[in-house]
Amino acid sequence: MSATGLKLFPLRSRHMLPGFRLSLGFTLFYLTSLVLIPLLALVIRPAELGFGGFWTAISTPRVLASLRLSFGMALAAAVIDSFFGVIIAWVLVRYRFPGKGLLDAVIDLPFALPTAVAGIALSTLYAPNGWIGSLLIEHGIRIAYTPYGVLVAMIFISLPFTVRTVQPVMAELGLEVEEAAATLGATRLQTIARVILPMLGPAVLTGMAMAFARAAGEYGSIIFIAGNIPAVSEIAPLLIITKLEQYDYAGAAAIGVVMLAASFVMLLALNGLQSWAAKRR
């Protein structure tokens, strides 16, 4: 065992500090047994259906509708959050006003607040007799128990990702470029639109991708407000649970694999974005 260890990591003999094998060994053991092997079970399970069976399992109208809802609304939520996230980050970085520290801290509320709590609060708020829902229903707009409820919950849950990705990059922007633009006769709006925003591009896209990934997989805050009508406001994670309750493990795993594949693509895209951003710095 130790011989193979040495062969795998020939650098080991040059380490000055102790504990390399112990810490790496524990890390790999813990990661493999708790994360990688269970994930492998997910990837392998749909194989028993065969490719045809897998395709049949995920191409039923109900499954397709749930995937379309989860990913479509997640994309919409990510775009909306990015728009407001840039404004909020700008206000937090550039303006000075009383209560700014509080406003800054509140941004992380969706990270800290358990999703079930957010779920029942949003549901009560946007229900036809709720504080916001009753105002909207007068104008014929229904949020709770429709696909728009899904969107509202996703916007709530993903907001911190967009703000927190853009904020540090914005804080590092030097004022020199803006001053140069102003000196050369650009109006303030021109400077913002053509100088500042393009420099924020990679950060905004990164935040958007993270917001999208979180929203697409979100469950707790959505199920209370969505109404969960099959093929209308039923999200993909909920359908996984429904299939599990019907002991359709392979069917549940098939949807799970699609969602996992989407996570992988997002992870790769994020890595790509980050190296692009690093090159542009």
């Binding site: 994930l39 801290a105 509140v106 709590v117 009560t124 709530f156 990934a213 469950y219």
Partner: protein
């Protein structure tokens, strides 16, 4: 009238007012209103009703189970985070970047998928389902399953806080200690730990908040047995689905208090010990 000239990199007043109002209104409606509603509903029937709802045996059982799950998951993930950060920050080995990506993986997996994978391993039709049933070992729909799901969703918190911090701090101090004859354990305790203690606390704080609040992953493996396998967030759902809104919002208010405390401590750490946290959290 004296006209005040704007600095070249300053927004005009109308723009500042406009963007400021948009940001504050958006945060107020989207984030603060739901929070206010939770406390308003919890206190709707007075403090004594709130107290009665908390003392309900099933509610107390859910608090106990949440504390057990977090009490196991957080220390384990903390030890893991330290071990992972130690080998990644203090040593060079092939595949390091890939390892960091794998450690982050649980963050990009849907919580429901996190629960699902344990069902596929330990469930009745799962890999080990049959042999576990033969030995009368219960993992799914029991406490071990809830602990496993909690570990999975809180897996990267401590590690991803410590890795960038310890990579930034480098190896010089530890190598000096080792040269002067300190053992590995002494080096860690006397040199590394004082350097990373606030970052460690930061990671543990976030890990704990998520562990107590996790819903999706735990929901899949819990089986929802009232008073037995219901954590606090699951108990919120059970009460809400049974139209016990007062009870649901009472437990929700407890969780919201916890979230607020977490935010306060987190902001305090970011404000007071900014230099000793990972760069991403320095404001």
């Amino acid at each position: 009238m004296k006209k005040r000239f704007l600095k070249p990199a300053e927004d005009p007043l109308w723009l500042r007012l406009f963007l400021g109002s948009v940001a504050i209104a958006f945060i107020a409606v989207l984030l603060l209103l739901p929070l206010a509603l939770v406390f308003k509903e919890a206190f709707a029937n007075g403090v004594s009703a709130l107290w009665t709802a908390i003392k309900e045996p099933d509610t107390l059982a859910s608090v106990r189970l949440s504390l057990i799950a977090a009490g196991i998951a957080v220390p384990l993930n903390t030890v893991f985070g330290i071990a992972a950060a130690w080998c990644i920050a203090k040593f060079d080995f092939p595949g390091k970047t890939f390892l960091v990506t794998l450690i982050d993986l649980p963050f990009s997996v849907s919580p429901v998928v996190a629960g699902l994978i344990y069902v596929l391993v330990f469930g009745a039709q799962g890999w080990f389902g049959r042999s576990l049933a033969d030995h009368d070992i219960h993992i799914l729909f029991a406490v071990p399953g809830i602990v496993l799901a909690t570990i999975f969703v809180t897996f990267p918190f401590v590690a991803r806080e410590l890795i960038p911090l310890m990579v930034d701090q480098g190896r010089d101090e530890e190598e000096a200690a080792a040269t002067l004859g300190a053992t590995g354990f002494q080096t860690f305790l006397r040199v590394t730990l004082p350097n990373i203690k606030w970052g460690l606390l930061y990671g543990v704080l976030l890990c704990n908040a998520r562990a107590l609040g996790e819903f999706g992953a735990v929901s899949v493996v819990s089986g929802h047995i009232r008073g037995v396998t219901n954590t606090m967030p699951l108990h919120v759902q059970l009460l809400y689905d049974n139209y016990d809104y007062a009870g649901a919002f009472t437990v929700a208010a407890l969780l919201a208090m916890l979230a607020l405390l977490t935010l306060v401590f987190k902001s305090l750490l970011e404000w007071r010990y900014a230099d000793e946290l990972a760069a991403a959290h320095r404001h």
